[in-house]
């Protein structure tokens, strides 16, 4: 007996409906671990945070239902508004240069060539480094006698107190964050650029379009979906940024770097007002969702990817 015949004899004989049912059951079983994980580590904590945001809970005893009090309190809390403003400035200031620089670097790096391959690997190094380690490195760079002051000293500028001047500290964090995330954005944009159809560019060249015109009229519109992806993850990442401010400035000086996640953390774990902290988290989530939807609305379309 041939192998095929043997296999044919051992295969279960089920009708089409029965087979679909068996496949569905197998699929459900295979998906079960992921579903349980999602339920336990995402849905339940999220539902818990939503519930807590309507309560007064101080990490002891039982949460006490207070309705919308936490949300009303936010309107009247200068600490919250200061943090919201700092977060907005930090997000815009770190996302825009990250994407503009990322694109500027990705365009030449997307061209074929062995050197470009090496450069692409090098540019990804900061993104691969742990955030805590990079924050520590940057605290040394921004120190009084650190690299930042040495570099500006070369062009005759006086040393600056980067992390203790309330006018400079946020910008120091922006520089660090941009440096950290730039590599990842370059790689994503490079991949997007390499996926664009070459014949469109060849046709444009035949029609006499210069590189700048081709970039503005062809590359950018075709790259929309990649740009949308980068923009969404960049904005969400910036709005959730906690580690650099926590490690480099602790939110100071004078609240100049107290981003919303840091304020949320201090409210929850410093002041033990977990209900209020949950309400802040909900507002942050809604803001991120709204911004993401807005970005999808503005940048929808595009053919890349």
């Amino acid at each position: 007996m041939t192998l095929a015949a043997r296999l044919d004899r051992t295969a279960p004989t089920v009708s089409g409906r029965g087979q679909r049912w068996a496949e569905a059951r197998a699929g459900s079983l295979l998906a079960l671990p992921a579903a349980v994980y999602f339920l336990v580590f995402w849905v339940v904590p999220f539902a818990g945070a939503v519930y807590l945001s309507f309560t007064s809970y101080e990490l002891a005893g039982v949460p006490e239902w207070t309705g919308l009090d936490n949300y009303r309190r936010m309107l009247d809390d200068p600490g919250f508004w200061n943090s919201a403003e700092v977060t907005a400035v930090f997000t815009v200031a770190s996302v825009v240069p990250s994407i503009v620089l990322g694109l500027a670097i990705a365009v030449p790096l997307s061209k074929p060539g062995r050197l470009n391959g090496v450069l692409r690997a090098l540019v990804l190094i900061p993104a691969a480094m742990p955030l805590v380690a990079t924050s520590t490195v940057w605290s040394a760079i921004f120190a009084d006698h650190g690299l930042a002051n040495t570099l500006i000293g070369l062009v005759g500028i006086e040393p600056k107190p980067w992390l203790t001047d309330e006018g400079l500290a946020l910008w120091a964090l922006v520089v660090m964050t941009t440096w950290k995330h730039l590599g990842l954005f370059v790689i994503i944009l490079t991949a997007g650029l390499q996926g664009l159809p070459s014949e469109v560019f060849e046709a444009a060249a035949l029609d006499g379009a210069g590189p700048l015109r081709a970039f503005a009229r062809i590359t950018l519109p075709l790259l929309r979906r990649t740009l949308l992806f980068v923009l969404v993850i960049a904005v969400i990442g910036a709005m959730q940024s906690f580690v650099p401010a926590f490690l480099l400035t602790k939110g100071g000086p004078a609240g100049a770097t107290e981003v919303l996640p840091l304020y949320l953390w201090a409210t929850g774990f410093g002041f033990e007002r977990m209900g209020y902290a949950s309400a802040i988290a909900m507002v942050l989530l809604v803001a991120m969702l709204a911004l993401s939807l807005l970005q999808f609305g503005v940048l929808k379309g595009g053919d890349d990817g």
Binding site: P78, D144, W162, D165, P253, A254, F269, E272
Partner: protein, 428 residues
């Protein structure tokens, strides 16, 4: 694997789990005072790291274990700036250690939430709480009480004084043997000690640090006859003449933009700051930060200044030993604490680790820091532990925001004081 084997495996797992659960439920909490009065059990202890104290603690631990064979102790050393957060996480997760070092300023907050066990006087060899309190400095021990109950015994006590750089004073033509005695003089001296570019200053505050902001402002506000909170800690009282004047003075001294990872402490060690307000621990800290600093030659200490014609105020704080309400070994925990707090141990701790346990008569304990001890002893009657409120962390953060805003010129003293009072209205 056959079905039988699987069943056996599941059965074994279920049995193990049940046995574990039963074992957990079965461990009886220790009676408040065991009939035989003998401590026993396995204690977990959290304390913050200092090399000098570790040496004292470790030898005490060994001798205690030898003397009381039924006790085992597992210490965990936590960096000082992480201890509060680690304790809070442990309480929130229902897994606190049996006993731990705790900042006196956080006792009210934890006690209100039922996390701390009141002292068991019998475990500490005295008949009642009153007798126990009598063995300590009154003000230090009372800072570890909440609503009339004592939740800890004090260790690592300090009263703030003024540290100044003798070398900087001499450079500026000031007499290093005549440090300023009033806040007005401090401002005057600071003018002479400040360089034209502002990179060297006179007095530099410890900015951005809630605990030190409370102590620094406490001296200024209370000295003016005001307060940060009302006497019953029920309302904020910074937006008063005393509070606003204190904030204005605070914002007028030093250079907020001077940078050092250790804030004013670091700037004093480098010589950029000629004066700082600090505690006993700084006697060891400054020479550790800068090997060239020698006490009496390059730096010195003086009593904390007061306002001209004002009353003396000596901001103070203490750490304490406390026991978790959830501990099943409360008697043993307090018994071990009592062993750590004996008078002979207090003398050794002060000599070997510069750690002051405010036992009764601490002023006479022999110390290598004689001058600091004399200054602290003279200031002790005016020791002020600041507002004792369950929302201390929130109060201190809001006060730091207000003080820093004035120091950085972001707000006027009036605005900052009003913002503080408003923030406290929400918190209290």
């Amino acid at each position: 694997m056959t079905m039988m084997t699987r069943r056996r495996l599941l059965g074994a797992a279920a049995l193990t789990t049940t046995a574990g659960l039963l074992a957990g439920c079965g461990s009886e909490p220790e009676a408040t005072v065991p009939a035989d009065g003998v401590p026993r059990g396995k204690l977990s202890v959290w304390l913050h790291q200092t090399k000098a104290y570790d040496a004292v603690f470790t030898s005490l631990l060994h001798s205690y274990l030898q003397e009381f064979g039924g006790v085992d102790v597992t210490p965990l050393y936590v960096p000082v700036d992480k201890l509060d957060a680690k304790l809070l996480t442990a309480f929130a997760g229902d897994a606190p250690p049996d006993l731990f070092k705790i900042g006196g300023w956080t006792v009210a907050g934890h006690a209100r939430k039922g996390r701390l066990a009141p002292v068991i006087p019998k475990a500490m060899g005295v008949s009642d709480e009153k007798a126990l309190v009598a063995t300590y400095d009154q003000s230090a021990v009372s800072s570890l009480s909440y609503q009339g109950k004592l939740y800890g015994v004090p260790i690592d006590y300090t009263i703030c004084c003024l540290y100044y750089r003798r070398d900087r004073f001499a450079e500026a033509g000031l007499d290093p043997d005549k440090p300023p005695t009033t806040w007005e003089e401090v401002a005057e001296y600071s003018k002479r000690l400040t360089s034209a570019d502002g990179r060297k200053v006179g007095l530099q505050w410890i900015l951005g640090n809630p605990q030190w902001t409370v102590m620094q402002l406490l001296a200024l506000v209370r000295g003016k006859g005001g307060g940060i909170l009302s006497a019953d800690a029920g309302t904020a009282t910074l937006a008063t003449d005393a509070g606003i004047e204190a904030l204005r003075y605070y914002g007028g001294l030093g250079n907020a933009k001077l940078s050092n990872p250790l804030s004013g402490f670091g700037l004093f060690a480098t010589g950029e700051a000629a004066m700082v307000v600090s505690g006993l621990f700084a006697m060891d800290l400054f020479p550790a930060l800068n090997k060239k600093l020698v006490f009496g030659r390059s730096f010195d200490i003086a009593p904390l200044p007061r306002w001209d014609g004002g009353r003396p105020v000596a901001p103070a704080y203490t750490w304490g030993w406390a026991v978790a309400e959830q501990s099943r070994l409360q008697y043993t925990a307090w018994h071990f604490i009592d062993y750590l707090q004996r008078a002979d141990v207090a003398a050794r701790q002060l000599m070997d680790a510069s750690l002051l346990t405010p036992v009764k008569g601490w002023e006479k304990l022999p110390s290598t820091d004689t001058k600091a001890m004399e200054i602290m002893a003279a200031a002790a009657p005016h020791a002020d532990f600041g507002p004792q409120t369950p929302v201390w962390q929130e109060m201190a953060k809001s006060l730091t925001d207000a003080a820093d805003a004035v120091a950085f010129g972001k707000k006027t003293a009036e605005q900052a004081a009003a913002d503080f009072d408003q923030a406290m209205r929400r918190a209290l």
